[in-house]
């Protein structure tokens, strides 16, 4: 945490969750849990976002939407899967419409387990994502200097 100099912005998308993790994620951003003290801010626009928080698994209809959101985000980007459904499908794993966790379509960096994931766990995930974003950003800048990007 000591080296963090960036303030990444967060985009939240509800895959096919039951709303539980979804509401808990929103509760994290309100003053009681206040994830914004770690320098993040919630945005509704994928083109401004650095960290993608996804709750819920992937189904056939939201697969293109999730892929599109990810592709619209600027590089570098971090994906956090919140709740057990986003990690591997959870209780809905056996449903005909669920493809699986978010890692079936996107490279997930951080998994936050729980049904529903507790705000403390979500904040932990966000803090880890902020640190990882810094790391990815430093690497990206160094590569840009060398002309690799």
């Amino acid at each position: 945490m000591a080296k963090i100099s960036r303030s990444p912005w967060i985009l939240h998308y509800d895959g096919s969750s039951c709303n539980g993790c979804d509401i808990e994620t929103l509760a994290c951003l309100t003053p009681v849990y206040d994830a914004e003290r770690f320098g993040v801010i919630n945005t509704g626009d994928p083109r401004h976002a650095d960290i993608l928080l996804i709750t819920g698994g992937i189904n056939t209809q939201n697969k293109p939407i999730v892929e599109q959101l990810y592709s619209q985000m600027p590089k570098p980007k971090v994906v956090v899967a919140i709740g057990i459904c986003a990690c591997n499908g959870g209780v809905f794993k056996d449903c005909y419409n669920i493809i699986g966790g978010v890692d079936k379509v996107l490279p997930v960096d951080i998994y936050v387990p729980g049904c529903a994931a507790r705000p403390e766990a979500i904040i932990d995930g966000i803090v880890k994502a902020v640190a990882l974003f810094q790391e990815k950003h430093d690497k990206y800048e160094a590569e840009k200097k060398e002309g690799l990007q």
């Binding site: 096919s16 969750s17 808990e24 309100t30 003053p31 209809q61 809905f92």
Partner: protein, 359 residues
């Protein structure tokens, strides 16, 4: 006639916590028609009935929605109990009532916050959610979970609340009620709020009946109907009026929900006064055979549970008709002719729960 444009709205939109997609046909700044498409949150939850037995399925049906998860579990349990023809203990009925009303409280506070966010009043949004956290703490103290409790069981409830805890809750609610009253003054008296809500999204009484509106959406159009009047759980023993409003607009919907918050406080107090001592669960043996149909008043309106069993431990069918699904056609109606800038607000006034709708 102005030029017609089609603007896509959603599924990912800053104001929407959940994905729903609307194609808005605009003529200048006016919405002429709204065409919804749903299915982004569809999981196929009802199909799991063939893979989980009727006791385990409770944990699946609770996850229909994270906001009223308790009521989904309760509605399903009541339906299975009706097939078994068992009467649950009175204490369990009262405990269910208390948890139901706490669910309604936190759902309505959540909705007030989201509404404030939709018209750009961020401080109000944060205040509403701060109050809501207190109720979630109480849920955690009494059931162990914040949003998903799994405290229901076919035949009763799994956890009891002792009288010290119940008294503590009532004391907490007393201090909360004063805070909420201060907060709701802003919603009902502030002129900036009024200017966004008054005469926006009119749904007349006739239209509400015709389009099958339910819950606060219907009651705000002046129709006096509340499924709690059927007297399921302990509602038959409690004293409450049906809250209606003749405003027929977004302001009326806001008013009805605010009044319902205070009604829930009063219902919890009455239930704590009257709660009898005794068991909280009766043993249920064997497998269900038959079918049952149960109606439950959720924060968003009337939900219907249908369960059909065949004498084995796997049910034939478990169906939920959720309130947001029936409220979608009134939504399409109130979107016609509204300003484009009011669309996010109007979508929120039906209190949409998309994960309920699409299951």
């Amino acid at each position: 006639m102005g030029k017609r444009t089609i603007v896509p709205f959603g599924p990912q939109h800053p104001v929407l916590p959940e994905p729903i997609h609307l194609d808005l046909v605009l003529e200048d700044e006016k919405v002429i028609e709204a065409i919804p498409s749903i299915g982004f949150v569809h999981r196929g939850l009802e199909s799991l009935i063939s893979k989980r037995d009727f006791n385990d399925y409770l944990y699946v049906i609770e996850r229909t929605c994270g906001i009223c998860s308790f009521m989904h579990g309760m509605g399903y349990c009541e339906a299975v109990e009706r097939i078994f023809d068992v009467e649950i203990p009175d204490r369990a009925k009262y405990l269910r009532t208390i948890w139901c009303e706490m669910s309604r409280l936190h759902s309505h506070l959540l909705w007030l916050g989201l509404l404030a966010d939709a018209f750009g009043f961020e401080a109000l949004f944060y205040q509403c959610w701060r109050m809501r956290e207190k109720i979630l703490d109480m849920f955690e103290a009494s059931t162990g979970g914040r949003v998903i409790f799994s405290v229901n069981k076919v035949g009763g409830v799994l956890k009891d609340m002792d009288s010290a805890m119940l008294k503590g809750f009532v004391a907490e609610f007393d201090s909360m009620e004063a805070d909420v009253r201060k907060l709701t003054k802003v919603f009902l008296k502030d002129y900036t709020v009024k200017s966004r809500l008054k005469d926006v999204g009119i749904l007349t009484k006739e239209e509400a009946i015709q389009l099958g509106a339910v819950g606060p959406m219907m009651r705000a159009s002046g129709i006096e109907l509340d499924t709690r009047r059927l007297g399921y759980c302990a509602y038959g023993d409690l004293d409450f009026d049906i809250i209606t409003s003749n405003d027929c607009d977004s302001f009326g919907r806001c008013k009805v929900r605010i009044e319902e918050i205070f009604q829930s406080f009063s219902l919890i107090r009455q239930a704590v006064d009257k709660i009898p001592e005794g068991n909280i669960v009766v043993p249920v043996k064997g497998n269900p055979d038959g079918e049952a149909f149960v109606r439950v008043e959720q924060p968003r309106g009337e939900a219907i549970y249908y369960v059909k069993a065949n004498g084995t431990k796997f049910l034939d069918r478990a169906r939920v008709r959720t309130p947001t699904f029936t409220n979608l056609s009134p939504l399409i109606k109130i979107l016609q002719g509204c300003d484009y800038a009011d669309v996010p607000l109007l979508i929120l006034t039906i209190d949409p729960c998309i994960s309920c709708t699409e299951r």
